[in-house]
């Protein structure tokens, strides 16, 4: 998986290098963690209440490599892991437990602006990647999309703290598995 992340980073650098004539390329590395919840998965339509739209959430951890080479876009290869909670349900008088997904994903985000710069930054982003969702008896390994908004600030030179709210989905044919989440991360600027 690290190999894929390195390849994506190289790809982002290559994509950015063509437009990098105006200034030096900025490269950082960051880690993040947060919460993610399934949206509209395994809901019962007959007894649906708004709270049922969200499944058992789980923790999410990951690493990002922001590459800033052109004025308005930061490319950000990422790798993330999440583990979702088990769900208990009583069916026919017996309580059963269905385990939640384990998720592994990698891809590239495109952020508008440079969240690692000085001061406060509000930035939207979109991403494309590959996500693998597994649990006993089920495996989904498909293309994933995400988009979200982030707020970044830099408390010290070369260090950035970010909070992001994100919506992601894994495309399964004509439908998708959707997740929402919020995470916080810290990144360190390696270059320049």
């Amino acid at each position: 998986m690290m190999k894929r992340l390195v390849m994506l980073t190289v790809l982002a650098l290559v994509l950015a290098s063509g437009a990098a004539q105006a200034g030096p390329i900025g490269v950082g590395i960051g880690v993040f963690g947060g919460l993610s919840v399934p949206i509209l998965q395994n809901v019962s339509a007959s007894s649906f209440s708004p709270g049922d739209a969200f499944g058992k959430g789980g923790t999410q951890l990951g690493v990002r490599v922001p590459v800033h080479a052109i004025p308005i876009i930061t490319f950000e290869p990422y790798y993330a892991k999440a583990s979702y909670g088990d769900r208990d349900e009583t069916i026919g008088g017996i309580t059963y437990t269905r385990e939640g997904y384990d998720s592994k994903s990698f891809g590239v985000n495109a952020l508008l602006g440079n969240p690692d710069g000085s001061g406060f930054h509000f930035f939207p982003y979109v991403g494309l990647g590959k996500t693998k969702l597994t649990r006993t008896g089920e495996e989904i390994n498909k293309t994933g999309y995400n988009f979200g908004f982030g707020l970044g600030m830099s408390p010290a030179q070369k260090i950035s703290i970010q909070i992001r709210s994100e919506f992601s989905m894994v495309v399964t044919g004509d439908t998708s598995r959707k997740f929402g989440g919020i995470n916080a991360g810290v990144s360190y600027r390696l270059l320049p």
């Binding site: 509209l40 998965q41 395994n42 809901v43 019962s44 339509a45 007959s46 308005i72 069916i91 026919g92 008088g93 017996i94 059963y96 437990t97 269905r98 385990e99 495109a110 508008l112 602006g113 930035f123 939207p124 982003y125 979109v126 649990r135 006993t136 008896g137 089920e138 999309y145 988009f147 989905m169 495309v171 399964t172 044919g173 004509d174 439908t175 998708s176 598995r177 959707k178």
Partner: protein, 181 residues
Amino acid sequence: MRRHAWIVLALGLGLLPGCILTSGQIQINFDLPNFTANSVTGIDGTTIDLNSQSEYQDNKEKLKDLSDLAVLGKFTNNSASAVNVTVWITTTESNHKSEAALMADPTRVQLWGPFQVAGNATKTIDWNASAQLFSTAGKAALLAEAKGDGNFSIYAIGPSGAAYDFSVANGNLVLVIDIGI
């Protein structure tokens, strides 16, 4: 800057067909009657009409796939030797009373199993274990039924040629369907 933000978002979302965004997974539980299966006295089956569930009826036209399945229930082995239970469906309605008659039905498909129950024991299947026991052909047949007329018959039997005597109580067939809205 703000204009750029909306352009980036619109480009990202514009690549996705609406159905992918406006989709979900709906769980439908079908209660099964109590089954008995005996290699000597015969087997029970039941016909399931998916249309009897309003959740299925309401979403049938939007159904794209089956994402999760489970046969749930309490299995009791009434004989001293262990039994491997399998669940079969016939894609046309049927009322077979013996394993031989079921096996002679050209529309039969093994849906699930084998699930082993020790001699003189009662075992409640675990949802995760159950999800693993579906055959590829069984899943495909069930999806075809869900997209088709929604009528099929279901049976639980023991190993062919072996002596068995078991019952299934509190049975349920759980389908999680992918729907595009």
